[in-house]
Amino acid sequence: MTTTPVALARDLPVQRVMRAQVDGCDLAIWRGISGQVQAWENRCPHRGMRLSYGFVRQDSLACAYHGWHYNCEAVCHYIPAHPELQPPASIKPVTYSVVEHQGVLWVNTRNEAEVPEFPEDSIGIRSITFDCPLSVAFEACLAAQLSDEAGLSLSPRQLGDAPLILSFGNQQQADSVLLLFQPSDLANVVIHVLAHHSYSVDGRIGISQWCESVRRQAELNHEVAMNAGMECTHE
């Protein structure tokens, strides 16, 4: 199991919780008032409620169902139905290793999260979900033409395969665009898009629109492949 990007850090402000999936594993990711990020299995140990529907109070995540509070050590320290009770230490959600690095949140569901190396001068543009398997999304991104603000075409280069990272750029210039792939389950991929900080607002909007056109293409390719597959099985 590798370390996977799950969100742009700026999309998770303090005292908020969000849901993410990594290879079909459902996660609740939240940030307490002190700024620290937690990544937990998205299941409350009490009655199984998805913790991503909960709410953050100070440095605790409270479950939406019965309000049990869990602190940053993943220890349940307050059960509202029994305000006087010191909850048993055995009540703990499953936790995963998470790090915040270069504006991206990285999770490893098996081991310590280790962040891959990539150019440091980039900033987050957006995260976008492709409704197709990882391989189809990757092919579509690889085949898509992308150029920088001066109109120079950028060539794609794979930086890593676990996690899968695609970089578009000209080696000499500060114009790189990075795509970080998060396989959320067998049918969906989230791509976190970063770009060199020198891109203007219009340039960033352009990259964002490019992502959408690549998504349409990828989903179309997937649909065509599925239909072709159906015809084969009919023969």
Binding site: R47, M49, A64, Y65, L85, P88
Partner: protein, 319 residues
């Protein structure tokens, strides 16, 4: 393998509200994974199949006769608590009683149906739970800081084979449509069948009586159900529409929880989910299901089958 169907198929389940279908109408639904067709016509009914419906007081006027088919087979039908009930069994268990349905002066209110993508057992367990009121039904059935669940009693009644929880009290900002301010509400719960639950609660306009609210759950399959809430109230002020709207709001709030519990089926393995003292009703309910092998809609692990212990004692956990 989950063979909970073995138990579940001998119970009666609601499939429609009485009088909801007009003569000439038909409707498709599902029960325990089987496709059903309900037909309403004005023909004289076949006594051998629906004599229960006659007994239950079908006056046979404009109501029409309901016939229910499953794979070409006619199923038994009966009317009770303003609903139409059916069963897949040739020798069903008797449908439980709610004696308050006969009490003069009560308004009987079928509240429609809520489709929920969860196990029918999860829907019942949620109905038995009070600790969620301040968080899920905020400012209506509960509110912080009044979150404490005081000690209450739970037993399995061996004569009627029901789970019964009593002596429950809870602070409620707006206990029902007819209440105007916060009160401490008393509750009694009973589970007369794995997929039905009845509660009795303080009736604000008539302190000597208790309102009755029930849910009748129609299991479409192990992970999908129709919940049919029903009430028998002393309230002659609120309009029918208001009463129904109030209950519908409550159940829609519950649905947002029920569709987000993992796993979708109710885990009977005591290691899967941790109860506290407030969950004694749920603990008893799970034990009772296990005792009957009423596993339709439950998640059974190898562990929970091999392990004959009935799970942790919630008293120990919480005290």
């Amino acid at each position: 393998m989950n063979n909970g169907l073995e138990y579940a198929m001998h119970d009666w389940y609601p499939v429609a509200i009485e009088g909801e279908l007009e003569i000439g109408q038909s409707r498709q639904t599902r029960l325990l994974g089987e496709q059903l067709e309900l037909r309403c016509d004005d023909s004289v009914c076949d006594a051998s199949v629906c004599d229960a419906s006659q007994r239950a007081g079908n006056t046979g006027d404009s109501v029409g006769t309901i016939t229910i088919f499953s794979n070409g087979r006619k199923l038994p039908v009966q009317r009770a608590f303003n609903h139409l009930w059916t069963t897949l069994s040739e020798k069903p268990r008797e449908l439980f009683a709610i004696s308050e349905a006969q009490e003069p002066g009560r308004r009987l209110v079928p509240c429609g149906v809520v489709r929920v993508k969860c196990s029918p057992l999860r829907a019942v367990e949620n109905f038995l739970d009070i600790a969620h009121f301040p968080f899920v039904h905020t400012d209506v059935l509960g509110a912080e800081p009044h979150t404490e669940v005081y000690k209450y009693d739970v037993r399995i009644d061996d004569t009627d084979d029901e789970v019964i929880a009593s002596n429950i009290r809870f602070y409620q900002p707006q206990a029902s449509k007819s209440s105007s301010g916060g009160i401490e509400t008393q509750y009694i719960y009973r589970v007369p069948a794995p997929m039905a639950a009845v509660l009795y609660k303080t009736c604000p306009p008539k302190p000597e009586a208790m309102d009755v609210i029930a849910i009748f759950v129609q299991p479409l399959d192990e992970e999908t159900c129709n919940v049919w809430p029903w009430m028998a109230l002393y309230d002659d002020v609120s309009s029918m529409a208001d009463l129904i709207q109030f209950q519908q709001l409550i159940f829609l709030q519950d649905r947002s929880i029920l569709e987000n519990q993992i796993p979708r089926r109710l885990p009977l393995d005591p290691k899967m989910e941790i109860p506290t003292r407030a969950d004694l009703t749920s603990v008893a309910y799970r034990r009772w299901l296990k005792r009957h092998s009423a596993w339709y809609g439950a998640q059974i692990s190898i562990d929970s089958l091999q392990n004959h212990s009935e799970g942790p004692n919630a008293h120990e956990l919480a005290e």
